[in-house]
Subunit: 311 residues, 2 copies
């Protein structure tokens, strides 16, 4: 019977679940809406696992990637992008329902572990993983180890403040990086800019503005959409330059929904990033996309967290 771990990625919208073998092969995956109580979500994952699993596996453990995930305690605490309140002992809940050990970390830390074990960060000892989804997450790796900090909460670059008088953030403060640089942030930029009636853009034809829609418009040469990408890239590039001054990574990897915009994002990002870097870092730090299949990095990372702990 094949030994597996479950990799669980708690997203703002959906929770992805993957069955992963010890070599990092994703054998099967399914997805469940996140917006329910933690207990209901855990039960739904269990029910789906039982219903969907095509053959019998030897489940060894559960690894969870979650926003505001506390590695040391296995809890999700005050996650601004989830409807859950307070402190949720999610690792314990999964361990209890599945009767196997469970571990939990920041979803972006999980992505970083996945990238390090099975992706483009193999052999890279100092890197940062930036996840551009509903919010902006980050996993900071120093000397081959994820930085958890004294309380398990390190790596919240989405809540580095770009503009103290800026956009209101789900965390209760203003101007956090993720209110600009994320799938949600780029939509806010478009919506704000489109309120200026004198601005013309093909985006006005869209009934709903989405990150994908902005990318399509930009690909078709829409000037406003291109400016929106440039604006987003400028803010992200500046803040990543600050991050370099902090831990001097060899590479910064981008991953998640907004990263799918590819060169639309990467080209202006590289330019703004390079311009913003302190002299001693110029020309030395690589920006790259995650090498893991879209959406799988977090699930593989969460599963590899479990494999790592079981080893």
């Amino acid at each position: 019977m094949t030994k597996i771990t479950l990799g669980i990625d708690i997203g703002g919208t959906n929770t992805a679940v993957g069955l992963v073998d010890s070599k990092g092969k994703l054998l099967q995956r399914f997805s469940i809406p996140t917006s329910q109580t933690p207990a209901a979500l855990v039960d739904a994952v269990k029910a789906a696992y039982i219903a969907c699993t095509l053959k019998e596996y030897d489940l060894k453990g559960v690894g969870i990637g979650a926003p505001n995930g506390n590695y040391y305690k296995g809890t999700v605490e005050f996650a601004p992008n989830l409807s859950w309140k307070g402190v949720v002992p999610l690792a314990e809940m999964f361990a209890s329902v599945f009767s196997v050990p469970a571990w939990l970390t920041n979803d972006a830390n999980a992505a970083a572990i996945g990238e390090m074990q099975f992706g483009a960060a193999k052999g890279i000892k100092d890197f940062i993983m930036i996840t551009l989804g509903t919010g902006l997450g980050s996993g900071v790796v120093v000397n081959g180890e994820v930085v958890y900090g004294h309380d398990g909460f390190a790596g919240e670059l989405g809540h580095i403040v770009y503009d103290y008088d800026g956009r209101s953030c789900g965390c209760g403060r203003r101007g956090c990086l993720e209110t600009y640089a994320s799938a949600t942030g780029i939509v806010r930029t478009a919506e704000e800019w489109l309120t200026n009636a004198s601005v013309s853009s093909s985006l006005r034809n869209n009934t709903i503005i989405t990150a994908k829609g902005i990318a399509v418009a930009a690909e078709n040469g829409d000037e406003l959409a291109l400016e929106i990408f440039d604006f987003t890239a400028k803010i992200l590039g500046r803040q990543l330059a600050d991050a370099v001054a902090f831990t001097s990574p060899e590479t910064i990897f981008l991953f998640g929904g907004l990263a799918n915009a590819g060169d639309l994002l990467m080209q202006p990002l590289k330019r703004h990033f390079e311009e913003s870097l302190l002299q001693i870092f110029k020309g030395k730090i690589k920006l790259a996309f995650s090498a893991l299949p879209e959406g799988d990095a977090a699930v593989l990372g969460a599963a590899s967290l479990a494999w790592h702990e079981l080893a």
Copy 2:
């Protein structure tokens, strides 16, 4: 014969040299102006060592703390606060002149090592050392190890950008944290604010504005001076809150000239810092002054770097 290492702290103005035994006892120290060529400085340190040393010691190594110090290469590279240009192989130069091995790191990393080995950071695995001198330096410690980054240059928090349209910085960019939060930065604030003729302040009686003079005025209740401290503390507090989101330290230590302002700085700093923190970090992160004697942390740190490498 007592075994010692030399701890050398290259400051913007002065270079401090300390003779330190293996238990971290500072046996003797002297100081030399930094503003000369690197070769002249190294020779001057050697000459002073020969002339000033009161008894014979068994010199085992040299540890150097320098701005923009590259731990891996032993070089000082493009240091914005020094008159030296380009890349200076300072560790090699000291090793050659003293005929003992030499190691070099960021001056603030050296201070962090000193604090960890001989100061208030004993037993603390995740902390940040902030040095508030001519510039603002930082040493980031994660899991008991100084973060050097992929190229040896990590921990340049003085060059995190606070205001992209802000004050010009020695690094060639604008609005770096150290242009506000440093002995030099607080003087710039005072000078800027005093150009407004309608502002009254006892600082107008000072022929030269210094950080110390501003502290004295604030102690005597001068409102402008108190506002200057509050402004400085707000900027530093906000940026330290961002730093917490990055590596989640247990404590942030302050050290250096401006830290001598004591409660004048610490009281507003704690308030602004706490206000700026992301919810999950509120009430958990300590701000404290270095426990090492003024000016000795960097020298002890540099010396302890050498002891650490010799061990």
